[in-house]
């Protein structure tokens, strides 16, 4: 996907937050320019926002605890919200959530607005809440998020660690909307990232038209679970405004 074909584009500095409203068939390409970035993501069905990304349903339906090419992000209603149609990265975290102010201060030290003005150290929780608030949502809607461009491994005993594989300058991922989807992003650092230097890299975010998933789409055909999930998503659109298409 060449970046000059983006219909909408934003460069999001580290620590900040942003939203995209993606109608079905549009896709969001995220690029971690510096390699040190992290993108926390929440997703909602824009037509019925009580339907939202569900970490547990995403994991168990696809028998995975990582997200990669061919995976989808399931809602709590058995439908894919976003599908990973392209991915250079390979292992995005699902199980660590985001940072709060106390965690950021413990890791990076205190650098608040009083001292640093707009270079203050922002955190993921506050970023998500500021974004949720813009769309009439709130604390109840802050569910476990996905973390793109961060790899978290789990050993046989269940211990988790942030992998050095997370550092991949130029890594990108493409997320196609399977419903009309409200995507909320925070570029605050991953909760397991070590200090003391707060990240500085930007995330490039661009929207392009991908079109609906084909019959042979890599996400749809990844497993029987996803085939049924896509059927559920298509059923959501079975009753179009103005009657059935001729």
């Amino acid at each position: 996907m060449p970046s000059n074909a983006f219909l909408l584009e934003e460069r999001i500095p580290a620590g900040c937050h942003h939203a995209f409203l993606l109608k079905r068939g549009y896709a969001l390409r995220l690029t971690d320019i510096s390699g040190d970035g992290n993108v926390g993501l929440l997703a909602f069905n824009a037509d019925e926002r009580s339907e939202r990304y569900n970490m547990a349903d995403t994991l168990k339906a696809q028998h995975t605890h990582k997200l990669a090419l061919g995976n989808v992000l399931y809602s709590d209603m058995g439908r894919p919200l976003l599908s990973i149609m392209g991915d250079s990265f390979g292992w995005h975290d699902t199980i660590c959530g985001t940072t709060n102010g106390a965690m950021i201060e413990a890791t990076y030290g205190a650098q608040d607005f009083q001292v640093a003005r707009n270079d203050y150290y922002r955190n993921g929780r506050d970023g998500f809440l500021m974004e949720l608030g813009r769309w009439g949502l709130g604390r109840r809607d802050l569910v476990p998020n996905a973390n793109f461009f961060s790899t978290v491994t789990v050993d046989e005993a269940g211990n988790i660690a942030l992998s050095e594989d997370s550092y991949q300058p130029g890594a990108w991922v493409e997320l196609r909307a399977e419903l009309n989807v409200l995507v909320l992003l925070t570029t605050a650092p991953h909760p397991l990232r070590e200090g003391p230097t707060y990240p500085e890299g930007e995330i490039e975010a661009g929207v392009f038209w991908a079109g609906p998933a084909s019959a042979s789409d890599v996400c749809r055909s990844a497993c029987g679970e996803n085939q049924r999930g896509f059927e559920n998503a298509e059923a959501w659109f079975a009753l179009p405004e103005g009657g059935p298409k001729a």
Binding site: D76, M77, I95, P144, G158, I160, N232
Partner: protein
């Protein structure tokens, strides 16, 4: 000497909800073994504060729950601590079964089977109509075995629990406990045969 305040049997497939005061101790008993007890918590005085699976995992740097695990809220506060556990390990990443996710995981014709999410919604709305689906999040599955592998996989495996195994928790704040004694018949989490669990509550 602590005093037993409450003892209830939660039948297979039933919901249950109760208030636990700070300092009280509760025990869940897998009476016949291999049961999955889907469990969620709210701060009893502020229902916007609720159990958070990812904050619990992140704080202890481990995905499995057992003795010593602090159950952490979305405000990063300890809600309860697991003080005893004869099963050894519990899941918090598999979530609750639901009609819709059953259609994805198994087949479209499983939609009308009984599920934990329906139990959760029924118990919540009977408790207080201000609750809704938005208040739910990934829960704990006591006695359920969901191993994660180093290559990134997650699966639902045969239970590691057995008859009479139990887990005990002490509340660090006033909480509401929300339980669905899982009615799932499509995977081994309840040994394909859901059975009763016992809830006991002591003053200390």
């Amino acid at each position: 000497m602590s005093t037993l305040l409450r003892q209830e049997t939660i039948r297979a497939g039933d919901p249950f909800m109760a208030r636990i005061e700070a300092g009280q101790r509760c025990r869940l008993v897998d009476t016949e073994g291999n049961e999955a007890v889907d469990t969620f918590f709210f701060n009893a005085n502020d229902s916007r504060e609720r159990y958070s699976a990812v904050d619990t995992v992140r704080r202890q740097r481990n995905v499995y729950l057992s003795t010593g695990t602090e159950l952490v809220s979305n405000e990063d506060r300890t809600m309860l601590t697991i003080v005893d556990d004869t099963c050894g390990r519990h899941d918090t990443l598999g979530g609750a079964c639901a009609a819709e996710s059953n259609t994805v995981r198994y087949a479209h014709d499983r939609k009308f089977m009984h599920s934990c999410r329906d139990n959760f919604l029924l118990a919540l709305l009977n408790w207080n109509e201000d609750f809704s689906k938005r208040d739910l999040g990934p829960n704990i599955n006591f006695f359920m075995n969901v191993p994660l592998s180093p290559d990134g996989q997650l699966r639902f495996a045969d239970g590691i629990s057995g008859p009479g195994k139990y887990v005990e928790l002490v509340a660090a704040m006033d909480v509401l406990i929300l339980i669905s004694n899982c009615p799932q018949l499509n995977n081994p989490c309840s040994g394909f045969n859901p059975t009763p669990v016992e809830f006991l509550l002591w003053d200390a």
